[in-house]
């Protein structure tokens, strides 16, 4: 199929084309960052590229299968260990249930208004990180579970150490998580040591979060553990978020500069948990389970 080179081309030249497409791109960028009129466009493209992403993920799937076969040899040993761990945790869980009951009792005695739901009942979906973007200024990851797996917008995502981020975009079979470190992301937190409440926000840099608008004389120290306060209803209370790295008290400014590092890491493990505070009972799926005390 030999095609003769065309000498007389019709249509605009390369520079004109570049100009047209640059204008189009600028319009799209403005639309995507400021106006957000057509969220469906992204959804549609997401559906088109989904099979490609799946194919790119295939080597990781094969690796998992091989690893599964290899690890199945020492499964018995691991089973015994896990059973022991389960018993230990079970004991802690029973204590937690007792404490929770006692807490509600005491609260009732005090006549306190229960602003925050004290139940620790949450539905959990296990998901895997499918794709981390290359660009370092892009603090988002893609998970391999989507609206089809009962994942909803705004759900909190955690790993075994603490909060990673929040679901911000939903596709049928995958979802996008905005990480804590994203510059537009904020989490309501509480200092464990003294119960001080504040909001922690991302800075757009890796491994750096900041507490804004804390006055210079605020009682906050280095290595303070910051956990979610549960205010706002997105994140369940009491999950570790960050530790305070350094505090700079600028005598000229009104506020202290508090920098902290997130506890959870996205580059360390592939499995994450998606939490929802909704009390929907549907534990028919294998990967869904209900954790928590379940007392009230």
């Amino acid at each position: 199929m030999e095609t003769a080179p065309q000498f007389f081309r019709h249509g605009p030249g390369p520079l004109a084309r570049l100009f047209i497409f640059a204008m189009l791109s600028c319009l799209l960028i403005a639309e995507d960052t400021h106006f957000k009129y057509f969220p469906q466009l992204r959804q549609a493209i997401g559906v088109i590229i989904f099979p490609l992403q799946r194919m790119a993920y295939a080597p990781a799937d094969i690796y998992d299968q091989v690893e599964k076969i290899i690890t199945s040899f020492n499964l018995l040993e691991e089973n015994i260990k896990l059973r022991q761990l389960y018993l230990e945790r079970r004991e802690q869980l029973l204590r937690l249930a007792a404490l929770e009951a006692e807490n509600t009792h005491l609260r009732r005695l005090l006549g306190a208004i229960q602003e925050i739901e004290t139940t620790t009942k949450t539905k959990v979906v296990l998901a895997e990180i499918q794709y981390t973007p290359r660009d370092p200024f892009n603090h988002k990851i893609t998970l391999n579970k989507g609206s089809y797996h009962d994942i909803e917008l705004g759900q909190a995502v955690i790993d075994d150490k603490g909060i990673i981020g929040q679901i911000t975009r939903l596709y049928p079979l995958s979802s996008e998580v905005t990480l804590l470190t994203d510059k537009d992301h904020a989490v309501p937190i509480q200092v464990v040591r003294n119960g001080l409440r504040s909001v922690i926000s991302g800075t757009g840099k890796n491994n750096e979060l900041e507490l804004r608008y804390l006055s210079v004389n605020t009682d906050i120290q280095q290595d303070d553990l910051l956990v979610t306060s549960g205010i706002g209803g997105v994140y369940p209370p009491g999950i570790p978020v960050a530790t305070v790295l350094k505090i700079e008290q600028d005598p000229m400014g009104d506020f202290a500069l508090v920098t902290s590092t997130p506890i959870a890491g996205v580059d360390r493990n592939r499995q994450v948990l998606v939490l929802s505070l909704a009390q929907t009972e549907s534990n028919d799926s294998q990967e869904m389970s209900t954790i928590g005390s379940g007392t009230n």
Binding site: C26, E31, I49, L52, Y57, T132, R134, D135, N138
Partner: protein
């Protein structure tokens, strides 16, 4: 040497480029991963100019943006820029051997990355570290084996009836 390039081979190379771009890599491997789609666009523009349309480059950019969870239009603009550059300078590039082409391709990739960074910066992101530009180096290094391989695959099959 002007081997025919069918629309199929172009489409397949772009799809393979997309899949390679979506590989679930982490850490150093991820940061030094070359942009395969940009390399594919460059290959076709240098060796077979006017076979690829700029709208295709734009569409590929949109797909990469959605996969990357980035700003929609960021890679689209960057790919259009590298498309234009390689189309203009492609004829000149073909005068050189593959090894001498590589650094010049690296220069185009660098301009493309700068476009991407400028869009991110205009959106209030922090400046990425120097390691961000490792992809330019790996892309230039990959140019020689990749274009050699594609040219080899495109070579017409010898006719079995011929002598």
């Amino acid at each position: 040497m002007y081997v025919p390039a069918s629309n199929w081979s172009i489409a397949i190379s772009l799809i393979i480029g997309l899949i390679l771009n979506f590989l679930p890599l982490q850490g150093d491997l991820l940061i030094s991963r070359p942009d395969f789609v940009a390399l594919a666009i460059t290959y076709w523009n240098v060796n077979h100019p006017y076979k690829l349309s700029m709208s295709v480059a734009f569409g590929m950019g949109l797909m990469v943006d959605v996969g990357n969870a980035g700003i929609l239009g960021q890679h689209a603009l960057a790919y259009c820029v590298i498309f234009y550059l390689t189309l203009i300078f492609g004829r000149r590039l073909r005068l050189f051997s593959l090894l001498k082409q590589a650094p010049q391709i690296g220069f185009f990739l660098l301009i493309m990355q700068i476009v991407i960074i400028l869009i991110a910066l205009s959106n209030g992101s922090a400046l990425p570290g120097w390691r961000y530009f490792l992809a330019t180096v790996t892309g230039a290094l990959l140019w020689v084996p990749a274009s050699f391989l594609i040219t080899l695959l495109l070579r017409p099959k010898p006719d079995s009836n011929a002598l």
